[in-house]
């Protein structure tokens, strides 16, 4: 059992893999999910630019993505992953299903946050002669920022748990490591070490996210 000299570097590498997968997919998720959430919000009936058709179609797509168990999604989007990355194995390949899985999740959270912004603030800004995109840029997003940050934190934590699942089908990272060394080689100590690491990462992220959201909330 004194092979930790050999295991430690691999554990470090797996941790790095997880951070890489989660980091890149979180960035992509924010870049796609926030605009999608905005679109979902402003096309709602009675909203800034109501468009029942767009709203319904987007809502359907988002619901589809949210109702699919992640492990099924992983398999389902494999052809897409191969098309984009060239392979379905490894941490870079995992970024594709991770992003596809997290975007609908974040989009709903963004929509909920933006809906909380009082209609009066929007009306006051329209009364200044603002364009609709000005309202989104100067009112909806800044006013919802603390709640958006909280939503993004929740999404990143969800991404970490997804990424561990992706390990099950050869995605790399801490999940992969825990299954290969901990589960398949009956090394409970390795499983525990991985869990502790994951817990530490999640705690740190949640703490940082909460802190940031609190700093932004002036109300």
């Amino acid at each position: 059992m004194n092979d930790w000299d050999r295991i430690a570097p691999q554990l470090a590498e797996a941790t790095w893999d997880t951070l890489y997968m989660v980091g890149v997919s979180a960035l992509l998720t924010v870049l796609i999910g926030v605009p999608l959430g905005v679109l979902l919000t402003v096309t709602a009936p009675g909203a800034l630019s109501p468009s029942p058709l767009v709203h319904r179609v987007l809502g359907l797509v988002v619901n589809l993505g949210r109702s699919l168990p992640f492990i099924i999604l992983l398999v389902l989007v494999a052809p897409v992953t191969r098309g984009i990355v060239g392979t379905t194995i490894g941490s870079t390949a995992t970024i594709v299903p991770l992003t596809i899985g997290a975007v609908p999740f974040l989009a709903r959270l963004v929509e909920t946050s933006l809906r909380e912004v009082g209609h009066g603030k929007v009306e006051a800004t329209l009364a200044m002669g603002a364009r609709r995109r000005d309202v989104v840029r100067t009112v909806l997003l800044p006013e919802a920022l603390p709640s958006l940050v909280a939503g993004i934190t929740v999404t990143v934590v969800a991404l970490i748990s997804y990424s561990a699942m992706a390990g099950a089908i050869g995605g790399g990272g801490l999940g992969d490591f825990a299954i290969r060394y901990g589960y398949q080689q009956f090394r409970t100590d390795i499983t525990v070490a991985t869990v502790v690491l994951l817990l530490a990462v999640v705690q740190l992220l949640q703490w940082a996210g909460d802190r940031w959201a609190r700093r932004l909330a002036h109300a």
């Binding site: 979902l40 919000t41 709602a44 009936p45 009675g46 909203a47 800034l48 709203h55 319904r56 809502g59 359907l60 619901n63 949210r66 709903r108 929509e111 933006l114 809906r115 909380e116 912004v117 009082g118 209609h119 009066g120 603030k121 929007v122 009306e123 006051a124 800004t125 329209l126 009364a127 200044m128 002669g129 603002a130 364009r131 000005d134 100067t138 009112v139 800044p142 006013e143 920022l145 932004l216 002036h218 109300a219």
Partner: protein
């Protein structure tokens, strides 16, 4: 400055709610520099009317002209430009929590594309104007209600509008803050030569600041005009709201209503009835207030012992310039201040659609 012609606003039926005619053929004219009030019970369409002036609500029919521009003929871009000539102040301030007081005042200037240095200068001037020169960096959450409304007024004035719309601007404030905000509105009107349209359910506000007013009921103009004229008009429903004079309980005898102005004081009426005719005269209702800077009042007298000479005496008083008429108990609607809650009600009795209404799609 503001000219509404036969304006109607109908909210279509939606999800089980019947269609609502919020504003039903209103014509209204506010002169350059006038301080005009719109009063009415909740659900009378006041707030919708305010939103029709800057086309936050597009009228279903009718014409809206502001500063010589026919807003109802403009496309969306034109309307956006035109809105800069109309500042708006709201009951709940609607300041952005993510910005400081200065940031909120700066907002409309940013949207209008004013340069940074010029913005800073104007923001400083505006905050000085509203008496908050020392609160630039304060967040809305750190300001009192009155201070928030001052910031909102500074913001509404930032783009140098010609018209200021106030939608229940004092209704969420305590009496002291209300007085302060009304003084400020009067001051900026005088200094900047603004035209003000003030929506309120508080008659004291109208008495304190307005030159003219209209009374709205169920989307229609029931009464209106310059206050000095309205208050001397017999049977004016608006006068009855501005200077309510309901009879106290147990009033008996012949009731006589006296309208008091500086040129028709009540002394002559009392002298004639009590002195010359020797009748018993008691005041059983009334209010006397300063309106538009002058003394106005409406008194309800109970006269007992009439031996048939009362009607002739009243006619003589009228001929002599006094404003007197016979009254019956309950011939005036109860004052609406008491039973009106501006907060609870949406314009036209219709729930204002939440901008970010719940999505129909199941999550």
């Amino acid at each position: 400055m503001i000219e509404l012609t036969d304006v109607r606003k109908v909210f279509p039926a939606r999800r089980g709610a019947a269609e609502v005619v919020a504003v039903d053929g209103v014509s209204l004219s506010v002169a350059d520099g006038e301080f005009a009030g719109v009063v009415g019970p909740s659900g009378s369409g006041k707030s919708t009317l305010a939103r029709l002036v800057n086309l936050l609500e597009r009228p279903s029919s009718g014409r809206v002209v502001v500063d010589g521009q026919v807003l109802t003929d403009l496309d969306d871009d034109g309307v956006r430009q035109a809105r800069r000539t109309v500042g708006m102040v709201f009951q709940h301030f609607n300041l952005l929590d993510s910005r400081t007081a200065a940031g909120n005042v700066e907002h409309p200037l940013e949207l209008a594309g004013v340069g940074r240095a010029e913005r800073r200068r104007r923001v400083a001037d505006l905050l000085d104007l509203v008496g908050l020169g020392d609160r630039h960096a304060s967040r809305p959450a750190q300001l009192s209600g009155g201070q928030k409304q001052r910031v909102a007024i500074a913001r509404a004035l930032a783009a140098r509008p010609k018209v200021l719309l106030c939608d229940e601007a004092t209704s969420a404030l305590d009496p002291a803050s209300t007085t302060g905000v009304l003084d400020l509105l009067r001051q900026v009107r005088a200094e900047l030569g603004l035209t003000v349209l003030l929506i309120t359910h508080e008659m004291a506000v109208v008495r304190a600041v307005c030159d003219s007013a209209v009374l709205l009921d169920r989307g229609r103009v029931l009464d209106g005009g310059p206050l000095a004229e309205v208050l001397t008009r017999p049977h004016s429903p608006l006068a009855a709201q501005l200077l309510p004079a309901p009879a106290v309980a147990g009033a008996t005898g012949d009731l006589v209503r006296v309208t008091v102005t500086e040129s028709a004081p009540e002394g002559r009426v009392l002298r004639t009835l009590a002195g010359e005719l020797g009748l018993d005269v008691e005041v059983v209702g009334g209010s006397v207030e300063t309106v538009a800077g002058r003394r106005f009042g409406r008194l309800l007298l109970s006269v007992t012992g009439d031996d048939g000479r009362l009607d002739a005496a009243l006619q003589r008083l009228r001929d002599g310039g006094s404003l007197v008429e016979r009254a019956t108990p309950g011939d005036e609607p109860p004052p609406m201040d008491a039973h009106d809650e501006p907060d609870a009600a949406a314009p036209g009795g219709r729930q204002v659609p939440n901008l970010l209404d719940a999505p129909e799609v199941q999550r």
